[in-house]
Every structure is written in structure tokens, then in C-alpha cells.
Amino acid sequence: MAAEAAFDDTIHAPLRLRICGVLRHLEEIDFAVLRDTLGTTDATLSKHLRVLLDADYISMTKSPSPNRADARRLTWIRQTRTGRQAFDAHMEELRRIAAGLSTTSADPP
């Protein structure tokens, strides 16, 4: 069943939209893998993850890394249920805008 369309300003920033898009289809992803998949930097990704974290759209946990002998840990990022619902609703609105069915797009009436 399609989610009810609802534009979400928190999600809509391009990189945050892409973050949510990647997370939607996974249980969890490591910070470095997400960074490399999106082709962005640590600092930029961290800033946007903080916004999503503050909105309770994602959660983050740390675990030991099997690839490092030092104390560095993997940061796992997961989308919350709230985040999935918000993303699905936003995607539904984007599809409506792309199809010319929405009344809230930037297209002239």
C-alpha cells in the first residue's frame, strides 16, 4: 500500500534524501560505506546525519572493527521507523511532483 504523500523539509536536502534512500533498503550500514556509496566527505556526511539524528529519522551505534588493531570502531547507521515512514511519504510526494500530479511543486499552474 503506497504511503500518504507528504513533503518533508528535513529529508528533502539532496544528500539527506540520498542517505535515506540508501538506508531504506538495508538494516544497517557502516559510516565509511555510506560515505563511499554517496561519494561525499566525512565532515559533510556527519553534518547531515546529525540533522537526521536530531529528527529521530536515524539511529547510530558503534561496534569494534575487525579491520583495525587500534580502538577505532565502526559506526552503524540505521533508519528508524519514523524515518522510514517520513521517507516513504516524501517519496510518494516526489513521484507525484515528477508525474505532474502535485499542487505543491515549483511548476507553474
Partner: protein, 158 residues
């Protein structure tokens, strides 16, 4: 350029912009699906473990056999957890097609396990090599098929 690192209200996109965003999301899914291709060692190792399980009826005494089965189960869990840590991804929900392949692999494994028991009871323990070998081949190719289907579903956003 990505500078909006806050939750300020954003302008609504036009239909062309929305189409572009949807296309970008599709590209990300495709890149992720490509990245999730299993390493060459994973499915041969899993196939070996499962074939080992099918061969356990050759161990006639129950206690050593249970120890071997327990070891194989632990080994499977360790391999899967190690793969998750190395790949940096914990996979999400498995869709119908990939789930059907996984279920079929489980059923085939159980059938081959019961075949092993039958062969040991009626012939000799060496005969377990036949169902164990068949299991190795089935799990190896079935596992790769499951992997491909899962990544296809992921790439299409299913």
C-alpha cells in the same frame, strides 16, 4: 552543491527536478547493489559448511555428531557475521523471489540430509559423500542465485 546542513524549509522542486532526484536515488541503489556483490570465498565456504552438515550422519555416535553439528552451526554464524562486518552492510528485508530461493535451498538441504541418514543406515557411511557433494553444488549455485536476486531487488528499490 550540498550546503544545507540544517532542517530549514526548502523550495519545492519542479517536476523535472523531482525526476532528477528520483533518478539519483535509483543510481545510488544500483551502486549499492553493485557494492554488495558477495566476495568469491563466501558461497563456497557456506556450501562447504552446509555439505558438512549433510555428511554428519556418517558420524555414528550421537555425541560427537552433535558436537560437529553444533560446530558447523557456529561456523555458519561466524562466517555471516564476519561478512557483515567486512562488507559494512547488514542486509534488509528479503523479497519474495530471493526468499523463495532461500527456502528451496533449506528444503533441498533437509532432503539431502535425510538421504544421508538413509544411505548410512542401508549401505555404509562413505555413501554420504554423494548427497554431501550434491548439497555443495546446490548451495554454491543456489547461494549465488539468491545473491543476484537480492541485489536485483535492492537495485530496483523493491
Amino acid at each position: 552543491m550540498e550546503n544545507n546542513a540544517s532542517a530549514e524549509p526548502t523550495a519545492r522542486p519542479s517536476s523535472i527536478q523531482a525526476q532528477r532526484l528520483l533518478h539519483d536515488l535509483e543510481s545510488d541503489r544500483a551502486a549499492l547493489a553493485e557494492r554488495l556483490a558477495a566476495p568469491g570465498w563466501l558461497y563456497p565456504l557456506v556450501a562447504l559448511i552446509v555439505a558438512g552438515y549433510v555428511a554428519t550422519p556418517a558420524v555414528r555416535s550421537s555425541e560427537p555428531r552433535n558436537a560437529v553439528v553444533g560446530g558447523l552451526i557456529v561456523g555458519t554464524i561466524v562466517v555471516l557475521i564476519a561478512y557483515q562486518r567486512l562488507s559494512g552492510v547488514r542486509v534488509g528485508r528479503i523479497r519474495v523471489r530471493a526468499g523463495a530461493v532461500l527456502t528451496a535451498l533449506l528444503v533441498v538441504t533437509l532432503v539431502l540430509l535425510s538421504t544421508s541418514y538413509g544411505l548410512v543406515a542401508s549401505l555404509s557411511a562413505w555413501w554420504v559423500l554423494a548427497p554431501a557433494s550434491a548439497c555443495f553444488v546446490v548451495v554454491l549455485f543456489g547461494g549465488r542465485w539468491f545473491d543476484r536476486l537480492y541485489r536485483e531487488d535492492l537495485g530496483h528499490g523493491r
